[in-house]
Amino acid sequence: MSPYEEVILDHWKNPRNKGRLADPDLVGMEVNPLCGDAVRLELKVKEGRVTDVRFAGEGCAISQAAASLLTELVLGRTLAELREMKDEELLSALGGVIPTRLRCALLPMQALRKALKTSA
């Protein structure tokens, strides 16, 4: 019955890179006021490239799985690449997300964009 692809259930139950960094270079936080879902993204950057990442947050399976998956997608990329990163990449990595829940799935992307804005 699930519209939740395996990948979502997997990341929700076994979140990757969950927690906090001791000394992050970039931090972005986003909250959905309508439902209280929250995602915080912390990045360690060396020579313009993400060398470490963590997320923290609470909320529905989709937002938390998306955050976990996003940490995997950003690791190793340059900030320039991340600035170009499209919503679609995360959505298709999630195996697609139904329209009613796009907002949840994209909450981590907004946290990422906020984090990127904090860098020059």
Binding site: M1, S2, P3, Y4, L9, L34, C35, G36, D37, E58, G59, C60, A61, I62, I98, T100, R101, C104
Partner: protein
């Protein structure tokens, strides 16, 4: 007993599919569905009687005005009230804003007290916050107990001569709790306070007689009781309205206007500035007529039956937590709950895959959810077109949701 199959045939939307499955609509507390009698009444108004009201001297405008005022009379009779006590608004929210503003202007001074409760919908909380701030009055929320009922001893303790207004939900949109209005009104009236009822979740679901109820002011929405969106009602007892200054100003609410000043028409016109929701009033009258034909006692009994079934099924499932009184007699026809460890949004999405529409979120009651210690909840709500099979389908589906997410 009501004939649900016959009723369902009147609601065109119930023939629709949701995600490929027959629609099971369990979100009537957010907005109800509409029978064709209501849809057609509005359409017929536009096709045969449409004109602006109160102003025109030609037959068509006269007919439109008569229909609009007949709607007012119909709603007055439904509540056992007088037509002059009925003001049409956009909905409960506007009605409560109007009441809070006007009571602030006429009855509240610095240092006075306004009582609300911890279970209020934002619509019956924020207008009082604003009014209290404007008037330097004190806003106090009566707490709820573990069963999700009002702590009446706390209410009686909070009540004093400074208390000018007691504003509360007749039935909570989350806990379901029906509050003891008579007892509250008796206490409030002893100290000279006015009782304002947010009746958005009661008027659609039970017989209401304002002469017995004890409240002074009542607000509700058409769209939650089979009527159109865009219309609601403010009822205020006797000549309470007569003391109030207008909330919105403009055409049709005046007596005489000069460039620098104006005088006001009598109520209810004084509170209906501009072109009112005319076709919507006609639609609401058709909704009331529909409900009267079924009978509000029967509507209420059906709701309690479904709620009892739902409560029983939810309580039997150890992975479910429910909020509010366990006794269906103490409730309106809705149940809020959570599946342990699952976010309500996921539950709603997974149910929707089976065609079942419930609501998930804070239901415009953030302070209540904070009190319950949860960020959000699921809510299933029932109306006269829902069947016990639908409740069973919900219960069965919840088991599958729980399994699929373990």
């Amino acid at each position: 007993m009501i004939d649900v199959a016959k009723i369902r045939a009147d609601f065109p939307i119930l023939g629709r599919l949701e995600n490929g499955k027959p629609l099971i609509y369990l979100d009537s507390a957010a907005t109800s569905q509409k029978p064709r009698q209501v849809i057609e009444a509005e359409a017929r108004f536009y096709a045969e009687r449409n004109a602006n009201v109160r102003r025109g001297l030609y037959l068509l405008a006269h007919e439109a005005t008569e229909l609009y005022e007949a709607a007012r009379k119909k709603i007055a009779a439904f509540l056992n009230a007088y037509p002059e006590e009925i003001v049409f608004t956009r909905g409960t929210t506007e009605a409560l804003n109007l009441a809070a503003w006007a009571l602030g202007e006429t009855r509240v001074s610095a240092g006075d007290k306004i009582l609300v409760t911890e279970m209020e919908h934002h619509a019956n909380l924020l207008p009082w916050q604003e009014m209290a701030r404007r008037k330097n009055a004190e806003l106090l929320a009566i707490p709820i107990n573990k069963e999700g009922e009002l702590d009446l001893s706390a209410f009686h303790k909070a009540l004093d001569r400074r208390t000018r207004v007691v504003a509360l939900a007749h039935a909570s949109n989350v806990l379901g709790t029906i509050n003891p209005v008579q007892e509250i009104a008796e206490g409030a009236h002893k100290v000279g306070a006015v009782v304002v009822l947010d009746a958005a979740q009661s008027v659609p679901h039970m017989p209401i007689d304002v002469k017995e109820l004890g409240a002074d002011i009542l607000a509700f929405s058409g769209h939650k009781m089979l009527g159109p969106t865009g219309i609601g009602v403010l009822w205020a007892k006797g000549d309470l309205l007569g003391d109030w200054p207008p909330f919105l100003t403009g055409g049709e609410m005046i007596r005489e206007v000069w460039l620098d000043r104006a005088t006001w028409a009598d109520p209810p016109a004084r509170f209906e500035a501009g072109t009112p929701p005319i076709a919507q009033a006609v639609g609401l009258a058709a909704a009331v007529e529909y409900l009267e034909t079924i009978g509000m006692a029967a509507v209420q009994a059906h709701g309690q039956e479904l709620t009892a079934l739902a409560l029983e099924g939810l309580l039997a499932r150890p992975f479910v937590e429910i909020y509010g009184p366990r006794d269906p007699q103490k409730r309106g026809p809705l149940v809020a709950f959570n599946l342990r460890g699952l976010h309500p949004h996921d539950v709603a999405t997974l149910l929707d895959q089976e065609g079942i529409c419930i609501r998930a979120g804070h239901h415009c009651a953030q302070p209540l959810h904070r009190k319950l210690g949860i960020p959000a909840s699921c809510r299933a709500s029932f109306y006269l077109y829902n069947t016990s099979d639908e409740v069973e389908a919900l219960l069965a589906a919840l088991g599958r949701v729980w399994e699929s997410m373990r």
